[in-house]
């Protein structure tokens, strides 16, 4: 087990290094790095000063070394627009995005798995077809259009829920979150639903497929032969059996949810990382773009690592090897 973790850590470090190389190459080697790192309105003297200050007259390899060194210390440049370190900027927005992502993930699991179970246990029925078609619709709708429709229906027409920004936050269990206030909660609902729809469809399909593949297996029949009730078979046998791969998918999807948040945050003006990156791309705030890339890559690597470890822990066949009686 320990060997496994160490090996994965090393692999992750390698991946991070690879990404830093790609980013460095993209930003510093291709195109004019001065243009990328300086605001567009700098004049010639400022340029020359900047080139020397940034060490751009040094050989490329040395520059890469400096880049890495600074990165490890947490210095990934300063934002042109906000004039604070990019890292600081990103981390200030991170909680909002995480809150949104967690909420969306929760919705997709809490609604998706039961629906998927329901459909999987009734193959070929109208319910099954309806749920499947609904799930296809779920991932056919581009999320930005879903968001627009949600706003149109619930905000403009019905006026039930706000469509803009994050509401007032309070402290719950020591964390600042929107769940602590009603205002915060109502502001969280629409964007969370919007973000959850893709994953909801995925959960439904995964669970349904898992159930359909598991029910014909021998051990289910054997459980019936023991006289076990169908309810218990579904909840204790089937669910536990399909949960392991599903949990790993959920883990991997967490990264995707955080990425997809960019669209949702843009539409609902939610002050998270995603909106930041879109704004930065539009305003050509390149240090922030670089910092965002590195941070997000790191996050994905960490998430993947945790998921791998979790999988090894959850599946007894993987966890306990080679101890056959």
């Amino acid at each position: 087990m320990l060997v496994f973790v160490i090996r994965r850590l090393l692999q992750s470090a390698l991946v991070l290094l690879a990404v830093s190389l790609v980013v460095f190459a993209g930003i510093y080697a291709i195109g004019n790095p001065v243009d990328i790192l300086l605001p567009d309105d700098a004049n010639e003297t400022e340029r020359q000063a900047a080139i020397r200050a940034l060490g751009l007259d040094r050989p490329l390899l040395v520059q890469y070394g400096i880049f890495l060194l600074k990165a490890v210390q947490g210095d990934l440049g300063t934002s042109f627009v906000y004039n604070i370190p990019s890292i600081e900027l990103i981390f200030s927005r991170l909680p909002a995005t995480l809150e949104l992502a967690m909420c969306a993930l929760f919705i997709s699991i809490a609604v998706g798995i039961p629906l998927g179970l329901w459909a999987g246990l009734r193959p070929g029925t109208k319910t099954d077809e309806a749920i499947v078609t609904g799930s296809i619709l779920g991932f056919s709708l581009p999320s930005f259009w879903q968001g627009l429709m949600l706003i149109m229906i619930f905000s403009v027409t019905l006026g039930w829920l706000p469509s803009n920004g994050r509401g007032a936050t309070g402290t719950l269990f020591g964390i600042e979150t929107s769940f602590a206030t009603w205002d915060g909660f109502t502001h969280l609902l629409l964007p969370a639903i919007n973000l959850s729809l893709f994953k909801l469809a995925l959960m439904i399909r995964l669970t349904r497929a898992g159930v359909r593949e598991t029910m014909p297996l021998d051990f289910i029949k054997f459980a019936r032969a023991k006289g076990v009730s169908e309810t218990r078979i579904v909840l204790a046998h089937v669910l536990k059996y399909i949960l392991v791969p599903i949990i790993t998918v959920i883990g991997m999807e967490l990264g995707a949810v955080i990425a997809f948040a960019t669209v949702t945050e843009t539409i609902f003006a939610w002050p998270g990382m995603g909106k930041l990156i879109i704004d930065s791309i539009n305003k050509l705030d390149r240090p922030v773009i670089v910092a965002y890339l590195m941070v997000v890559t790191l996050m994905f690597i960490v998430i993947n690592l945790v998921v791998d470890i979790l999988y090894a822990l959850l599946d007894p066949r993987v966890r306990i090897k080679g101890q056959t009686v």
Binding site: F219, F222, A225, K226, G227, R232, T324
Partner: protein
């Protein structure tokens, strides 16, 4: 003085409605099982022997259903019985042991969970008491240090051990009847002998009747009381094991016995039944064995009915073999 049979099956028909047509897996099977006796159900793949076993317990997967006939257990009719009634019987009065121990037990649940569940579904006892019963059951089938083994997962057991666990589960409530569907086919030859011996012993101890489904006539030769030979969904010959094996009446039974390696002389060619068993969609007209039978004639274009040769010997053939001197 015939004592009333424990299980009486009359003219059982189990059909599967598939996209390609109706598969008559079991097409008019009749058999009796008396208390405490071991009945062998012998036939090749596709003969319908396993389906017969599943039909008795009501464990048919869609699209299979019992379309006709009667199954009386202790005088109670099982065909058409409510699902609740069947569930109460399964594991308690009639138990089943499956062929492939790999998939019989749920790989993600512990052994104790799966045994305790089998106990608690029919009896209201505390988990602790159930665990003690489970431990005793494992001991009974010859598994050493049962308390430790209980905490293990199925993949930590060898095939033979897993089958013992399955047998232990089957005998938990001292059922009147156990249906064993090719329980030793997937095991090593040496383990096979052990398992056969265990089952014989345990059934004799508790007076449990046993239906042993197999394709291997030699196994029944060693341990069965009576035998039913199946071909293409019907019983073609039945009677006491000694009688059937020493002087088979049906040409197919004769062919099976002749092709047992131990019954042939060394160095001589193994005798084989020519041809192959019919597929469900290409059943010959009349007697299904006709194309492979050396004794077939025009009369065999009709479907032979079951006739009684003498006493308990029954056969489905227009030209049964004569008794050897």
């Amino acid at each position: 003085m015939p004592d009333e049979a424990l299980l009486t099956v009359r003219d059982l028909r189990t059909h599967f409605e598939t996209r390609q047509g109706v598969v008559k897996a079991v097409d008019g099977v009749s058999l009796d099982v008396r208390r405490g006796e071991i009945l062998g159900l012998v036939g090749e793949s596709g003969s319908g022997k396993s389906i017969t076993g599943f039909s008795i317990l009501g464990l048919l997967d869609a699209p299979g259903r019992i379309v006709g006939g009667s199954i009386r257990f202790k005088g109670e009719e099982l065909v058409g019985a409510s699902p609740e009634r069947m569930r109460a019987l399964r594991g308690r009065e009639i138990a089943m042991v499956f062929q492939d121990p790999m998939m019989t037990l749920n790989p993600v649940l512990r052994i104790d969970t799966q045994i305790i569940e089998a106990i608690q579904v029919h009896e209201r006892i505390s988990t602790r008491a159930a665990r003690a019963r489970a431990s005793a059951a494992l001991q009974r089938v010859g598994i050493p240090s049962p308390d430790e083994r209980l905490k293990a997962y199925p993949h930590q057991f060898s095939g033979g051990m897993r089958q013992r666990v399955a047998i232990a589960i089957a005998l938990l409530h001292r059922p009147a009847l156990v249906i064993a569907d090719e329980p030793t086919t997937a095991l090593d030859v040496t383990i096979q002998a052990q398992i056969i011996f265990e089952m014989q012993k345990l059934c004799a101890e508790s007076g449990t009747a046993l239906i042993w489904i197999t394709h291997d006539l030699a196994v029944i030769d060693g341990m069965g009381d009576r035998v039913c030979v199946m071909y293409a969904g019907r019983v073609v010959e039945s009677g006491a094991v000694r009688d059937v094996i020493s002087s088979p009446a049906h040409p197919y039974a004769r062919g099976l016995i002749d092709s047992i390696p131990s019954r042939n002389e060394r160095g001589k060619r193994l005798s084989q039944i020519p041809g192959a068993p019919p597929t469900p969609f290409s059943l010959p007209q009349g007697c299904p064995f006709r194309p492979r039978c050396g004794r077939a004639d025009a009369a065999c274009l009709e479907v032979p009915q079951e006739t009684t040769l003498r006493g308990e010997r029954r056969v489905r053939c227009f030209h049964p073999l004569e008794e050897s001197v």
